[in-house]
Subunit: 265 residues, 4 copies
């Protein structure tokens, strides 16, 4: 099994400068720690809690920046797509296309994403059981694309709360897809601040470490130079200046987990 | 307050003949019972559990049939839309556009739907609290369309199970939007049959009646001449030959509820 | 089917005077409305959220008052028991023994309660499914007592929140036991005020009416002359001066429900 | 911080021979692995799903065996108590008294247990949030006993399902009490087999390891020489012949976790 991959970046592409700055900082962390790093960014936050939430640079302005980030940093880039039409266009400037959790059952979107031939990261909907994911993944592989990643980002638990069921990792692993823990969205409190989502960033390192201890392929964590002033997901992003520390912590547990598969009873 | 509206029809538009047959049967029920009736149909089931699920006639073939149904039956027609692009096109052949629950936070879809000027019925996501709905409704009214209906269809409750919280009706009513109970989707068991959703149609009359007793604007119920052989949602649809009975039952409770507002403590 | 029974009273027996005053007020409501009324009171609140919560008059001081209440008001009396030892003693002064929800799987308590020969009202644990109740009821009937009532008081739904699943009424009814809706505990917010439970009394009339519309045997509602200053459950009890209004409302829906059994599909 | 403690044993004391055999086997595992080991046993299963479930040897027959186990194996012994009256009696033959999850809010039981002066292990109720535990622990410490352990055993998640929220460990740790993961009860499926609980023993090693990676005081795991024929909890107990392997696995993660406190953001 390969060592842990870290998928990281700010919630949204705020500007060209911001994207370049954060990606270069993450590139340096990757170099220093030896972690495999994928740069995550969003050209559009298409499902903000309320209409007034900022949505990012937009598709056309972002693609050029995406390519600049890829060239400058040398990091592979992941971004999320929201409509079937976007898939082929975005595939020009991204290495991994991500299906948002709310959209993980939208058949046309999944097929269009799969048909780009890019790696597809599909997030498990907050409304799905882990054993529902073979049907989701089957829509992607059924469209001819075997390169699928499955991401856990928490399940609905009562109102305005998510919970991560650690059983979801071994269950999703049975699909054969690499499994990723989205540690910063899993600590969201959806709708928890009225017009936007709250979050508990303090628990992201716990959830990430617990999942990594089970031997997973990767961890997804949003990070930002100044989370408290970020346009979205501020309450759950990890401050960039603490990010290397978190990565090193997870790599230590990953090494132990990868050399000790969980006991099968 | 107006008497109860019933939104009814089969899960998907299976064929022109099927659509005309069911809509005429419902028109007759409306005439005999005095119920306000809206015909519900879908041109595309865009989020089936698995790739092999049938999806319906498709957009272009459906619009003509929609208009034929409206003209023949005289019933207003509701259908669900899945992308922003569909909204203006579908608005030519429908009276009410419906936002599916999984898509209730997709800002562009909501705005495009709102901008058609049609009545919009938005379903509360399985992952939302009732008090999150003002943000959803605000995306529609903020786009200039005040004609919004809010529908309860159950909240995620553990795995493969939904629960209807009766408090959601008074809470959503505070938005000023008419509130509807979707009694047949609320008894779905998402993913409960492996490659498709299960359902408990036997409890739809209970959930509908309980909600109606609180004084709501409408009930949404899918019905089919032969549910057990329907291409989707069979386990939860109400057999058409029992439908009038269910409508009469609900109208009796609606009359009592509308003349007795729930006591405010 | 018999008309609706109302089980009502304050959360705890605060004093002899308090008990007599409230029971007489309820007796008068019963007379005026024709409702079957059972007086509910507790000699001990054995599971308060925190140590500092008041617990009531205690067993020995209460029994005499219980009998005085029964004689003065002529109402049957229900009280909850917490240990097997209490059952036979309390049975001297009560008509119905109630098994608290947290204790509904404590076999010895159930058997001891059953062996008193009194009617037993067992509350469904917040951690149980409605289809788990035959096992609970079977412990009581297996001990030779067929007179069992089953009460819904909400199921755990995430943290500090309960939800009432309306399907639980038809499911529990299949056991043959009369089924009761506990409308004021179902709107508790367990632990919601830190050292005590919060509550949403404003939704008790909604939950009660929705359940009654399904044709149930009874409604349990705590009431108090001054809920905001009550030693326990204040946030969810119904003010006594509004109680008659609530009872009349429920009786109207009960009459309609009892003459219209829910449609069986 | 001290290395991991393992609390282990079969669900119930089936016989003197059975208890001696398993405790000696566990003692040998403790010696070979260096783990701190507490022997867990139950004299009475007081809350079986149904009346027909076996309950164990009973109190009086068990105490002598308990003492024999303690002397023979040299292991400290933990057992659960169900009534206030049992506490002082059982304290004669046990080192740790355990409060069952369903009973964690029964004030009298907690006080009586605390007053024995023994170490008290209180399980978090399936219906509680982790932040509700200070009130529970406060009942014990308020009765003069500071030696309290808090155990996570899963929270209700829909019907017949539990979920472990990994955030509960850091939250409960804030109380100052040592925190334990009950890995075999957390994989129970309450009521999942109709007349008894089902279980998913295959996930116990995952939940245990994930929790241990967060740096906790101990893991509770039931084990049995022949789980599939055990009188209770068979589906979730760990076969005794695999137990040493599980312990060694957890000790490796414990060592890493204890030398790397989770990053505080």
């Amino acid at each position: 099994e390969k060592p842990l991959t870290i998928i990281a970046g700010p919630c949204q592409l705020e500007s060209r400068e911001h994207g370049l700055e954060v990606s270069m900082a993450l590139k340096e962390i990757a170099d220093r720690t030896g972690a495999g790093l994928v740069y995550k960014t969003s050209f559009d936050k298409a499902n903000r809690t309320s209409l007034s939430g900022k949505r990012g640079l937009g598709l056309s302005a972002s693609l050029e920046v995406f390519n600049e980030i890829r060239e400058t940093s040398g990091l592979p880039l992941l971004t999320d797509i929201h409509t079937a039409e976007q898939c082929a266009i975005v595939a020009e400037a991204a290495d991994i296309l991500q299906i948002p959790a709310f959209l993980c059952r939208q058949t046309d979107l999944l097929i269009a994403a799969a048909e780009t031939g890019k790696v597809i990261n599909v997030k498990k909907g907050q409304f799905l059981a882990p054993w529902d994911m073979p049907n989701v993944i089957g829509k992607l592989t059924g469209a001819g694309n075997p390169n699928v990643i499955a991401t856990e980002r928490g399940a609905s638990f009562g109102y305005n709360t998510l919970v991560v069921d650690m059983r979801s990792f071994p269950i999703m692993k049975q699909t054969g897809a690499p499994v990723v823990m989205d540690a910063t969205h899993a600590v969201q409190q959806p709708g928890g601040q009225g017009g936007s989502s709250g979050g508990q960033r303090q628990f992201a390192p716990h959830l990430a470490r617990a999942a990594v201890s089970l031997g997973i392929a990767g961890v997804f964590m949003e990070t930002h130079p100044d989370p408290d002033n970020a346009p979205s997901d501020g309450p759950n992003m990890i401050p960039l200046y603490r990010f290397e520390e978190v990565v090193r912590d997870l790599m230590a547990f990953d090494a132990l987990a990868k050399s000790n598969p969980v006991i099968q009873l």
